[in-house]
Symmetry: C2
Subunit: 116 residues, 2 copies
Amino acid sequence: MKEKEQLCQFKLMASRDALEVIQGKWRIPIIISLTYGNRRFGEIQRDIADISPKMLSQELKALEEYKIVSRRLHDSMPVAVEYSLTTLGHSLHGLLDELLNWGVHFRNEIVSNNNN
Amino acid sequence: MKEKEQLCQFKLMASRDALEVIQGKWRIPIIISLTYGNRRFGEIQRDIADISPKMLSQELKALEEYKIVSRRLHDSMPVAVEYSLTTLGHSLHGLLDELLNWGVHFRNEIVSNNNN
DNA sequence: TATAGCAGTTACCCAAAAGTAACTGCTTAC
DNA sequence: GTAAGCAGTTACTTTTGGGTAACTGCTATA
């Protein structure tokens, strides 16, 4: 079964590509916040109660580089910055959905399985 | 829109639950290897070419604690150990699928988008 | 004119994650 | 009897991720 092994290797590579982008404590939460519409820096910070401005800024920059998030600067005075998901960012929708569903499923399992 | 905000908070929690389990460089790859059937320690190690025995052992233990993986010891002589996915482990199938699809999608996007 | 809000940045520190290398005890095959 | 494969473990080091606190420059509001 050489085919099977090649498929396995292919999947391993694909998973690495994906993980490279979404890895870390804050990226998924940031993306989730942005699925609720365009958001300002401070708004995201309020959504994700325990993120520091340093981490938010750092991770937003990373997500921008991966073309997941776009940053629009409105040249009003006091600077207003608007973050939003790109098309590529929105393409994470299905993955996010599965992640959330599984998160809920997992919590139910561990709560109910005092048996086992 | 108080509802919207509560839903957002709910999703943030669910994502944390899920991430706690699948976070890290090696867990997803290990789970992928195990979707190809029950596997011995050495087989997983060969699937995932660059994992060290230390990391494999450590992550398998963690996945066992989360009830994602089960370890069966055959008391033959030379010890044979068989790892497999639990039901909970198999329930990650949909998530893995989305992850892999997105990984492929992402790679295609960044390869083709020399424009932008 | 002092305070608060906007959108961050900077320097410093610590803990966790991961890598490296060597070693274990067991058995079978050469 | 020596090498190789099984399934790991141990000690040590490096790297990275993330936390904390203080600070920036700008503006609107009280």
